[in-house]
Amino acid sequence: MSNEIAFLAEYAAGSPARSALELAAGAAQLASQSGGTTVALAYGPGSADAAGLGAFGAGRAVALGDQATPAITFAAAAVAAVREIEPLALLAPATPNGRDLAAALVGLLGLPAFGPVRAVRIEDGQVRSEQATLQGTVVTVSQPVDDAPRPAVVLVLPSTFTPIEGGAGAATVSAAPASEPGPFGSATVVESHPAEAAVANLEESSVIVAGGRGVGSADGFAPLNELAAALGGAVGASRAAADAGWVPYQLQIGQTGKVVKPALYVGCGISGAIQHRVGMQTAENVLAINKDPDAPIGEFADLFVVGDLFTIVPKLTAEIRRRKGT
């Protein structure tokens, strides 16, 4: 048994994912509460060189494998590493890949699972996770039962922790104990189709301008793009807009899309159905522009402007540019 806090560190194309840097900071925070150290379980292309995670809060790293295969194919190596370390908690990113790998660990080792969470802490040597359930209508605090096996697996939402900047130091990297890939290895990517145009990573944007059904068409997103550019942000969408094919699904915010926590969220022509709300309700500032005075978003936005987005948004963009002198 140790007081170590482990976290899943995903790599892609030679670099750690944003989630790896966020979870490194989260693990460091929890380790200071448990009196332990942090250990990264690094996987994916580039993860063999996980020493760089040291600057972001990782004490050491175990390299699970650096092939470009689905995350769950690293499950056997992760199990071997977890058995050896026996950490108190394992933080996993609440992304499709992170959830799959976490799920395999839960199934293979019979572990308590929590999340997705926006807050987690160690209290009296025990993991306590805070989770919004039932579409955010209830907040529950949970912990493992007394004799539960370790680690507690905690799914952590994007932007819950802020990466440590300007850190120094290198994590010591060791290879995972030998393991057989098992049945997960038989799922293989047989075709890969990257997008023709660049797609913004919404989870990394501090400003998001999102469009919904009220935007009306793919062309209707043009003024939203302009506003996002003026604010230095990215464009997102509701499911209605993604389903209509106006924007790619990667830009969908909500229960079945991205969960975001920007400093500013601007919802244009978005009604604010519960399924969308769960994807953006922790945004620090919410501005909504909608011509329907009864739109549900008017009940939880910080500023609700009733009006025509096609009139207001271009004027707003022009005014912001004027003030910024650009």
């Binding site: 769950i72 499950a75 959830r99 976490a102 799920a103 395999a104 839960v106 199934g107 293979l108 019979g110 308590p112 699972a113 999340g115 997705p116 919004a132 359930t133 039932l134 209830v138 907040v139 529950t140 605090v141 949970s142 912990q143 493992p144 039962v145 539960a148 799914l155 049945p183 038989s186 799922a187 293989t188 990517v189 047989v190 890969s192 189709h193 997008a195 797609v199 990573n201 604010l231 499911r239 699904y249 990667q250 229960q255 079945t256 500013l264 519960i274 500032n285 501005l287 008017g298 009940e299 939880f300 910080d302 500023l303 609700f304 402007v305 009733v306 009006g307 004027k315 005014e319 912001i320």
Partner: protein
């Protein structure tokens, strides 16, 4: 070729939710529906059956006795048969216990594809498909926006950060699909009548060869506190003003909050 779709009965999105004295969701008090994201898995399975790629579609649920209603509703949409796993020892089951029970039931049902929705509406952990695959020692095809079965393999289309992949695995598999597979159908009156005659089996934990002790008393986790989220400050409304006035108010608001 046979698919078994795993479904969960959840409180309706609009239902008033309450917690019992021991901090469990009072499922009896809330209007219950099929988890909306599971309806997409049902739809995907029925489309494969209609296309002739699959011979039979079964449904499986773990829950209280009233979860039989959810299974009956699924049978009204289509498919052939249903299995309910219900046992008083399963009250408050967590994700691991749920996965363990579903895996044991699926071992008996032995479908070519065990299909699930991408998440449940109430807890949203999305861990059950992967945990079931791990427990059954089968490959996982997760978050498919489309599922196909051809010959001895299953294939999904899966979104990536910038595009999509096609991921393939040999049958049998555990798979999950998203809400991009197509809008779920409504049950027709004829379907509702037909559902009443479709076979439904009920299994207890003992029928699966499991004892409560195998499940750590249903959960490895416990809720120690349940509360309402903190109320946000009231919304500031801007209406019945000219567009220029509205823009001025927005800019002031952004500046006050140091967002521009």
């Amino acid at each position: 070729m046979r698919i078994v779709v795993c479904i969960k009965q959840v409180p309706a999105t609009t239902a008033e939710k309450r917690y019992t004295a021991d901090l469990r969701l009072d499922r009896a008090a809330a209007e219950a529906v099929i988890n909306p994201l599971d309806e997409y898995a049902i739809e995907q399975a029925l489309r494969l059956q209609e296309a002739g790629a699959v011979e039979s579609v079964g449904f499986l649920s773990m829950g209280p006795e009233q979860a039989a209603e959810a299974l009956r509703r699924a049978l009204a949409m289509g498919g052939d048969d249903a299995t309910l796993v219900t046992d008083p020892a399963l009250a408050g089951a967590d994700e691991w216990a749920t996965a363990r029970v579903l895996a044991a039931a699926l071992d008996r049902l032995a479908p070519d594809v065990a299909l699930m929705g991408m998440a449940s509406d109430d807890a949203r952990g999305s861990l059950v498909p992967g945990a079931v695959a791990a427990l059954r020692g089968l490959p996982l095809l997760s978050y498919g926006s489309e599922l196909r079965v051809e010959g001895a393999v299953a294939r999904i289309r899966r979104l990536t950060a910038t595009g999509f992949d096609i991921v393939e695995a040999p049958l049998p598999v555990v798979a999950s699909v998203t809400d991009q597979v197509g809008e779920p159908r409504y049950a027709s009156l004829k379907g509702i009548m037909a559902a009443k005659r479709k076979p439904m089996e009920t299994w207890s934990l003992a029928d699966l060869g499991l004892a409560p002790g195998d499940l750590h008393g249903a959960a490895l986790t416990r809720v120690v506190e349940a509360r309402k989220p903190e109320a946000k400050p009231p919304t500031e409304r801007v209406e019945n003003v000219s567009p220029d006035e509205a823009v001025a108010r927005i800019v002031d608001w952004l500046a006050e909050r140091k967002l521009i």
